[in-house]
Structure formats: structure tokens, C-alpha cells
């Protein structure tokens, strides 16, 4: 019994390691590649780098508009977080902690956003945004990201909200505290881990977004990281893999840092509080 148990657990550990390897090894590989000269990458490669160089980073940081793209990406993501947080918190509170007729239908309706074939309807969006002068504006781009972050964000917050005991609100109600005040001073502080998680979710939705940024941001000055980077990397006939690798590292680094700081909060914030 005991020995077969440990065989199973070792096997399980091996599978987990393998999965994590598939998921994370490409990052390590590209990190190594980013320090190798392009010529070495194009010729038949060796596993161990022969030469170490910073030339790729020099062309990324000094010769491309990297910093501008990063700032633009941050602006759009920040807008998205600022716009989505109140909508998600209010929406989730409404759907999961109040009762009114039509609650079901509305929560359906919100999730139906994802039916929307984004790549196909960028044309009408373009037309509508043109009329609202939201073309070529970070805000317009963030608005789209928000619309696609909010419905799922609301759903993500439910587990946490549902795990709060109803007596919290009832106690406040008996004490004569208004519903709005209860929301702000009791529910929101209690739901802090959940709110951190959805902020992360909204940020990443925006940070990784490609299509809206590509269609709605016309001027080079406004381009976000993915647009700027792919413009250079895939815009040429022969891909400069050294530069591409440095660009990929440069784009992944901000989320890497974000994960170092708040990464472990994500799962805690979307589960009903059982994870420590």
C-alpha cells in the first residue's frame, strides 16, 4: 500500500514537472537566446551559447521605440484596470449579493459578450469609435478591453463574494448602515483578495491584447508593445531572432515582475478563500 502510494506520488510529480517544463522552458530558452548574437541563432545552434552579447538589448532599448511602447501599454492597461474595477465590483455585488428580477437574464447577457466575433466586427467598431473620436486613442482601446474584461471578471469574483457570510450585511443593515456604505466599508475591504485578483485579470487582458490595439491605434506614437514589436519582428522578410528574443523578454518582463509581487494572490482571490 505504502510503496505503491509513493510510486504514484512520484509519477504524479514527474508529470507535473513535465507540464511545467513545457509551459516554462520556452521562456528560459528565449532568455538565453536574447543574449546570443543573431548569427549564432541562425546557424545550426548549440545548446550552450558560444558568445554572449548585449547587442540585441541595445537595439531593443536604444534603437527601437521600446520604452514608448511599454509606456503606451501601461497607459492602456491602467485605463483598463481603472475602468473595469468599479464595473466588476458593482456588477458582481449586484449579481451575487442582491436579488432582483432580471438578475439571471442580465448575468447571461453580460457573458454573451464572448459570442461577439471580435476579429470580424472591428469594422463597425472602427466606424462607431470614429464618430466618438475614440480612434487613435488609448482610452478607446481601453474601453474595448474593459468590455471584454468585465463580464468574465464579474464571474471570477463570485466565488469570493459568495464565501462572505450574509450576516455581515445583515448586521450592518440592522445597525442602520446604508447599502452603499456597507458595500464600500464592509464588502470591498472583506473582498480585497478577490479585487486584487480581478485587477490582475483586467491588467493582463489589456497587456496581452493585440487586435483592438492594432486596429484602433493608428499612429506609431500610440502603439502598444505587441503592436510595435510584431511590426518590427514580423515586418521584415527575415526575422532577426536575436532582436525578437530580446523583445519577447522585454514584453514578458513587466508581467514577470507583477507575478513576483502579487502572483500568488490570483488563485486566492478567485477561490472561496480556502487557499492560504
Amino acid at each position: 500500500m505504502n510503496s505503491s502510494y509513493s510510486v504514484i506520488s512520484i509519477l504524479r510529480l514527474l508529470v507535473i514537472v513535465l507540464i511545467m517544463f513545457i509551459l516554462l522552458a520556452p521562456f528560459l530558452w528565449i532568455l538565453i537566446a536574447s543574449f546570443r548574437p543573431n548569427m549564432e541563432l541562425v546557424r545550426n545552434q548549440t545548446l550552450i551559447p558560444q558568445n554572449i552579447t548585449l547587442e540585441n538589448y541595445v537595439s531593443l532599448f536604444a534603437k527601437s521605440a521600446y520604452w514608448k511602447w511599454v509606456i503606451n501599454s501601461f497607459i492602456v492597461s491602467l485605463y483598463t484596470v481603472i475602468l473595469s474595477l468599479p464595473l466588476i465590483v458593482a456588477g458582481a455585488y449586484s449579481v451575487y449579493r442582491t436579488q432582483f428580477r432580471g438578475r439571471n437574464v442580465l448575468s447571461f447577457f453580460l457573458l454573451s459578450v464572448y459570442i461577439f466575433p471580435t476579429a470580424l466586427l472591428v469594422v463597425p467598431i472602427f466606424k462607431i469609435f470614429d464618430g466618438l473620436s475614440l480612434i487613435d486613442s488609448h482610452l478607446g482601446c481601453a474601453l474595448m478591453n474593459t468590455a471584454f474584461a468585465v463580464p468574465f471578471g464579474i464571474w471570477l469574483l463570485q466565488a469570493f463574494l459568495r464565501s462572505l457570510p450574509p450576516e455581515l450585511e445583515e448586521a450592518a443593515a440592522v445597525d442602520g448602515i446604508s447599502k452603499i456604505r456597507t458595500l464600500f466599508q464592509i464588502i470591498i475591504p472583506q473582498a480585497a483578495p478577490g479585487i486584487i485578483a480581478i485587477a490582475m485579470f483586467a491588467f493582463i487582458v489589456s497587456w496581452t491584447e493585440y487586435l483592438f490595439a492594432m486596429t484602433l491605434l493608428l499612429s506609431n506614437d500610440l502603439h502598444t508593445l505587441p503592436i510595435g514589436l510584431t511590426g518590427i519582428v514580423f515586418g521584415q522578410y527575415r526575422v532577426n531572432w536575436g532582436f525578437a528574443a530580446a523583445g519577447a523578454v522585454g514584453s514578458a518582463l513587466p508581467v514577470f515582475i507583477l507575478f513576483l509581487i502579487v502572483g500568488r494572490w490570483f488563485i486566492r482571490g478567485i477561490s472561496a478563500g480556502a487557499i492560504k
Binding site: L13, W29, A147, I154, A173, P226, F234, S271
Partner: protein, 306 residues
């Protein structure tokens, strides 16, 4: 039965609070759809150009268009391969890492990295991994003598679709896994303990505790995940542009290409509307079949067992 004012004010507040999200969705989703329907009945070729109303012509053209019909088929395969496959894999991985092990916290956090980096990074990463002459997969396989000549992961029409499915799954499976994991963690440990005391084996525990508790999550992810998969554009566009040939041209890719490179936004809009209708039918059938999972209990947050 009289409602008291406390419940009434709660209902009013609930409605007010959800309204902003609803308005945004209407603005950004419903209006474009209406506008898309309008465009699809015209002969407009680029935004702002002259056009006339042509009725159903675009739709009829599309139904006669072998290319379009073929892309519908490709989309169907793509959705099954991605939507279904990803959901199952994610669930399995979640079950695998749900029980404690050394490094569980590391896995729970860093598994998400592929989902959190821009699609552009994913595209660079895997185009390079897959590269015929300098990609690590081909060079190491050839070095080990497993392959004689490089596999053209993205340039061979036979396997490009599989490669893309792999990359897209690499990107989304971590996120779905974490959501399943969160939902697994919400199952009270006592329920398992009670079942163990009752002599339930692993399979019975899964069937009678884990699965029912996961069902609401599974249903929502089944729906939303399928819709996400059907609308995937960025990865395909950046990795193959629908090629080689048209082997990875799903409906979104074809319509995007028609609109912006074929300069025919009215035809693209008609294609979009057809695709949308198919998705709506899918969603309605799906929701109808799983309606129990979607109805929020009347007393969602009231724990009656207390």
C-alpha cells in the same frame, strides 16, 4: 405576499449597480453588431467609401463561396480541438495539482505565465521554437537522430493546424487550469473526509463530490471557452496568417483578410453575421441543455444549512 422596503431598496440598488456594465456592453458589442448588420446589406468596400444597398447579395455570395464554406469547416474543427480539448486537459491538470505537494505554491503562481504574456510574445516564442533550421525542437530532434529532416511545423499544411492548436492551448490551458483549481479549492475538505469515512474510493469521491461541485464552473467555462476558441485571431494571424495556403484560415482570419486586405468590408460583415448566428445557436442550445447550472439560486448567498 408583501415585499418589505429593505428588499425593495436592495433590488433597486442591485439593478443600478449592474447597469454600467450593461450599458458598456451594449455600447461596445450590441451597437457594432447592429452596424455590422447594416453594412452587410450594402456594397461598401472600405470604411467611408461610396456604397449602395444590395440586400442579401453578400450573404448569397458567401453561401456560394467554397472558400468561406471551407473556413466554416476549419473553424468547427478548431473549436472542437481547442474548446473541448483545452477544457479536458485543464481539468486533468487541475486535479493533478490540487492535492498538496512540494512546490505547489510555485506551480499555482507560475503556471499562469504563458497566459499572462502578450500573444505577440507567444507568437515569437513558438515561431522560433518551431523554426525549421534554427528551432530548438528540430535541431535537437535531428541531433538525437529522431528526425532525418526538419518537421515544418508551421509550413506544412498537414500539421500547421495541430501546431497552432498546441500553441493556443499552451496559452489558455494555464488560465483554465487555475480557474478549475480555484473551484476545486472551494470544495470543503469535510465533504471528502465524510466520503472517505463512508468508504468511498477515489472514483466515487470524484463522481459524487468533486464533479458536482465543479459542474457550474465546467459549464461556464465550457460555454465561454468555446466562444473564446471560436474567436481566436491573434495567434493564428501572427503565426501563419491562415497559411500555408488556406490550411489554417478559420472564419475570423478569412473575414479579417477579406475586410482589410481584400477591401470588402460588406462581405466580411456578412460573413461575421453568419458566424455570429451560428455561435448564438450554439450558445442557446448549450444553455438550454445546461439550464440548471446557469440559473442562480434564488437565495444564492444564503447558506440554509446554518
Amino acid at each position: 405576499m408583501t415585499q418589505n422596503d429593505f428588499r425593495n431598496s436592495e433590488a433597486r440598488l442591485g439593478l443600478y449597480l449592474i447597469l454600467p456594465a450593461v450599458v458598456l456592453v451594449i455600447l461596445v458589442v450590441i451597437l457594432p453588431i447592429i452596424s455590422g448588420i447594416q453594412i452587410s446589406f450594402t456594397s461598401q468596400r472600405v470604411v467611408g467609401s461610396e456604397f449602395e444597398t444590395v440586400g442579401l447579395k453578400n450573404y448569397l455570395d458567401l453561401f456560394g463561396d467554397k472558400n468561406f464554406i471551407a473556413s466554416l469547416g476549419r473553424s468547427a474543427v478548431w473549436v472542437i480541438a481547442n474548446g473541448l480539448f483545452q477544457t479536458i486537459i485543464s481539468l486533468l491538470i487541475a486535479l493533478l495539482i490540487n492535492q498538496p505537494f512540494r512546490g505547489q505554491n510555485f506551480v499555482r503562481t507560475w503556471i499562469l505565465l504563458p497566459w499572462a504574456v502578450p500573444a505577440a510574445v507567444t507568437a515569437i516564442l513558438w515561431r522560433w521554437m518551431f523554426d525549421a533550421t534554427s528551432g530548438i525542437i528540430n535541431t535537437s530532434m535531428m541531433g538525437l537522430g529522431v528526425l532525418e529532416k526538419p518537421l515544418l511545423f508551421l509550413a506544412n499544411p498537414e500539421i500547421a493546424g495541430i501546431s497552432l492548436t498546441f500553441v493556443n492551448s499552451w496559452r489558455y490551458v494555464p488560465f483554465l487550469t487555475i480557474i478549475f483549481l480555484a473551484s476545486l479549492a472551494s470544495v470543503p475538505e469535510e465533504e471528502y473526509e465524510a466520503a472517505k469515512v463512508d468508504g468511498a474510493g477515489m472514483w466515487l469521491q470524484f463522481k459524487s463530490i468533486t464533479f458536482p461541485n465543479l459542474l457550474p464552473t465546467l459549464t461556464v467555462l465550457g460555454l465561454v471557452g468555446t466562444l473564446w476558441a471560436s474567436n481566436v485571431f491573434d495567434i493564428i494571424w501572427m503565426m501563419t496568417r491562415g497559411g500555408p495556403g488556406v490550411s489554417t484560415t478559420t472564419v475570423p482570419v478569412l473575414m479579417y483578410d477579406t475586410a482589410f486586405y481584400g477591401y470588402n468590408i460588406s462581405k466580411a460583415s456578412a460573413g461575421a453575421i453568419i458566424f455570429l448566428l451560428l455561435l448564438i445557436i450554439f450558445a442557446i442550445v448549450f444553455i438550454f441543455l445546461n439550464r440548471k447550472q446557469f440559473i442562480l439560486a434564488n437565495e444564492t448567498f444564503k447558506d440554509l444549512s446554518k
